[in-house]
Symmetry: C2
Subunit: 502 residues, 2 copies
């Protein structure tokens, strides 16, 4: 009876199926293993090779795709298990995942302890959770379900889930803007100002979660952002700053998995957001961080009170994890700059850095405010003089020179481009612009293809206060395919006006 | 610009991949459609054929599985779209699903209105939600997040999501036992007692959600339970009762989808449970329903207070949807009968119906209590005399005769069988049994293969109060494969004792 029952061996077949980040295994319906182990379609099983193991979902095959004793794997499963056609793999049952009991307790609104968050985050990092289990955990934490203790614990668990960067300098700066405001791309301007001042800002950024572009998406249209930890260190030690995609640096990897499901659900809850932001900062080795919270009717944060609450949470949890946090609450009533979407935002950034006369002044002033706050928080510049110091660095051209050096150190500079397909949205009446629906505007940019099509998005000509004539262009939509352009137009025609003109 | 962009045609290829209930479409990575529409791996897209459409998840292929202009479909997608090899299909973008805004509002603990629940349930029924979106909805409704209004609305929306049975009789009876108690298989005994009394009980049952067996799983080891609505009517009109699997009758189909995700998450929250139970009853045409709520430390309902709360909820929502509900709160401290798992429970049921001397008396008495309550609730038997009437029907053999007639009308009778592999778990000490962990016992039965292997499970010999010798068998585990038997044993060895002996 006590004989080993996990000696089930299959020969790998690479089926050439890309399932994004889902590990799939394909097995014949009448194979001995399916029968003897009681496996059925969508069973999650453990696949072993050479000491490594992954969890994969079973797709049952009853055709000539597979021969007897072959096991097909999806691309990502091949990569994660590090196997190729013909290698031998074994399969076994997935043991019950104990931390799911903690998730269920949280679903029933119980407060769970620090050890429980460590268990959950650890199991998520190791790929033990299915997507619906992650969705349940995220939903259980959404709303106001996490208290300050719990946000602190989840933040610590996330920090410890991945790599940490260490630096020789005593002061390491960082910044973060809470999302929801299209075109709010201050980071690529702030980083070279700070680095040019002689301070250190090893910036790692995310890709878009629910927005048309993240800083990593935008900077990728100009330079390489997929930097290893070694490369980040090399660039920062040389230039004092960098623009890196956080995920590749494996900082807080659990957070990246959570974010991919949040993106699919189109939510971004306060507790998770704070844990996500602060865990990335600490893992990147930061000591002093400026956080911008734009609020407005159609921004992510809708009211000033809500912004104050987030400010309070950021400060308390910052203290608990020994991070110096300064929060700036800003106006979030309309987009920043003109471009919305990776390439279009990159064009705005470059025009500010190059001190072009047509550069968007709102984007410039916001970047200077954040850079000024960082200079003051670091103690290098005295209170009240940060912004003028930042302005001097930007307008003298020192910031752009530093920007170019950083990009070259990362792998070179390319100029962002407009997408092939374009349509202009014109005003049907004359009047004054009095309001803009940020959410709907962002949705148009996303339907047009941003951020997965980098040059797709919106070029926005009509900020609040603009006097428009009938027939004047309010904004243009750019897309890389006709289908997507039409899809964005269809949506625009189906909703109430995005630009309010009276 | 305004040309149609949904004219993207592919030739169907049946790939022979069974993905359970997930619609998958497989397309070549470099096909024009992927490029022009901006589709990427795991994009959810709409697939059209002949006026029908389904939503499918894209798996991107870069191998010889597909030829240019071929679109592969998983088995369930082929079936739902009603297409075969060589048929032409078109694909298009999935429009934003508006009811997901309602789900997000619920995730943030807002009370949403009846129309919102109708929108959500309607979209779920129509297959518009991905599994993670359903998981988010279920989690948002878990805990105590639904108030009495909301449970009523979701119940009504579920009732209206599918077919309804209509009957000529004025009084239609039904029963339900809240799960969590292994072996609590009273339904197959109650139904023939009620039907033999001349009353009507068109019983539809579910398969196991998180337990080792549901009534449909158990009855399937004896007769056919996959009955169409027409067949249910035929059997009930002839015999006064039936044992049908609810899903095939398409009663409250949204509930079936929700249950499949609840099963994967291993949760069963109060609000959803009440909506699930009552919607199925109303859709089945029931007018008078007895609900049994067993409570105990390791039952689904843990305390008497919790049972009282559920009783209150069942009554209030019953009133709101005009259903006569009677609730019985019972002892849930240990399994009922001896068998746990479909076939093993079926054996218990048959021994009670056949009045065998070794029939489990606890199962018999519980079934009589429920049947008695139904006889009284119907008004046919006066208060206080229901149980003795039920006992007379059972012990005279009338119930068994009716049981056989119902089974023959459904398609015949087979005798349930023991599984091939068996091991006996023996006591390591002498003493008295003082407690049983129902949850762990159920888990052992599930790991052994129940309910997907019908003859797998547990034969339980040691109820509370049993005097045991050292080496005496406490229970036996049955499995259909060695792997599963070993897996159950491994689990048993890894946890604290399931049977408490002092």
């Amino acid at each position: 009876m006590k004989q080993p029952y996990h000696s089930n061996t299959l020969k790998v077949k690479a089926l050439g199926i890309d399932t994004y980040r889902e590990n799939n295994i394909y097995m014949l319906i009448d194979c001995d293993i399916c029968r003897s182990e009681g496996f059925t379609a969508l069973t999650r099983i453990v696949v072993h090779h050479n000491g490594k193991s992954i969890i994969a979902t079973l797709n049952v095959v009853h055709s000539e795709l597979l021969q007897e004793n072959e096991g097909g794997l999806s691309d990502i499963a091949l990569k994660r298990l590090d196997v190729k056609d013909g290698d031998l793999i074994t399969v076994s049952h997935l043991k019950p995942i104990e931390s799911l009991s903690d998730v269920r307790a949280k679903m029933y609104h119980k407060k769970i302890d620090e050890a429980a968050y460590y268990r959950i985050i650890n199991d998520i990092t190791n790929g033990l959770y299915s997507d619906i289990e992650i969705a349940a955990f995220i939903t259980a934490c959404a709303g106001d379900n996490l208290d300050l203790d719990e946000i602190t614990w989840i933040t610590r668990a996330m920090i410890d889930s991945g790599s940490k960067l260490e630096w020789d300098e005593k002061i390491i700066l960082d910044k973060h803007s809470v999302g929801g405001l299209p075109g709010n791309r201050t980071t690529p301007i702030v980083v070279p100002i700070i680095a040019a001042s002689g301070l250190t800002i090893p910036k790692t950024s995310s890709r878009a979660i629910t927005s048309p572009a993240g800083t990593a998406d935008t900077m990728e249209t100009i330079t390489t952002v997929n930097l290893s930890i070694e490369k980040i260190k090399e660039v920062v030690n040389k230039e004092g700053g960098c623009f890196a995609w956080g995920r590749l640096a494996k900082l807080s990897p659990a957070d990246d998995i959570l974010i991919s499901i949040e993106k699919a659900l189109d939510i971004d809850s306060a507790g998770q957001m704070i844990a996500s932001v602060l865990s990335k900062k600490v893992a990147a080795g930061s000591t002093h961080v400026v956080i911008e919270i734009p609020f407005g009717e159609t921004a992510k944060v809708r009211t000033h009170d809500e912004a104050l609450k987030l400010q309070y949470y950021f400060k308390v949890i910052g203290d608990a994890i020994k991070l110096n946090v300064e929060v700036l609450i800003t106006d979030g009533s309309q987009p920043v700059g003109k471009g919305i979407g990776p390439s279009l935002e990159a064009m705005d950034v470059l025009s500010v850095l190059r001190n072009q006369h047509d550069a968007p002044s709102d984007l410039k002033e916001k970047a200077l405010m954040i850079a000024g706050a960082l200079l003051e928080l670091s103690g290098k510049i005295e209170k009240g003089k940060g912004v003028s110091e930042a302005r001097q660095i930007l307008e003298s051209g020192k910031a752009y020179a530093k920007f170019k050096k950083i990009c070259f150190a990362q792998g070179g500079i390319t100029e962002p481009e407009f997408a092939e397909y374009k349509t202009e949205i014109k005003s049907e009446i004359a009047g004054i612009v009095t309001g803009i629906d940020n959410r709907k505007l962002a949705k148009v940019a996303k339907l047009a293809g941003a951020p997965h099509d980098p040059s797709a998005g919106i070029y926005f000509n009509s900020p609040i206060g603009t006097k428009v004539e009938k027939g004047q262009t309010l904004f243009s939509i750019y897309a890389e395919s006709e289908g997507e352009l039409q899809y964005a137009i269809d949506y625009l025609e189906s909703v109430s006006p995005i630009i309010k003109i009276v």
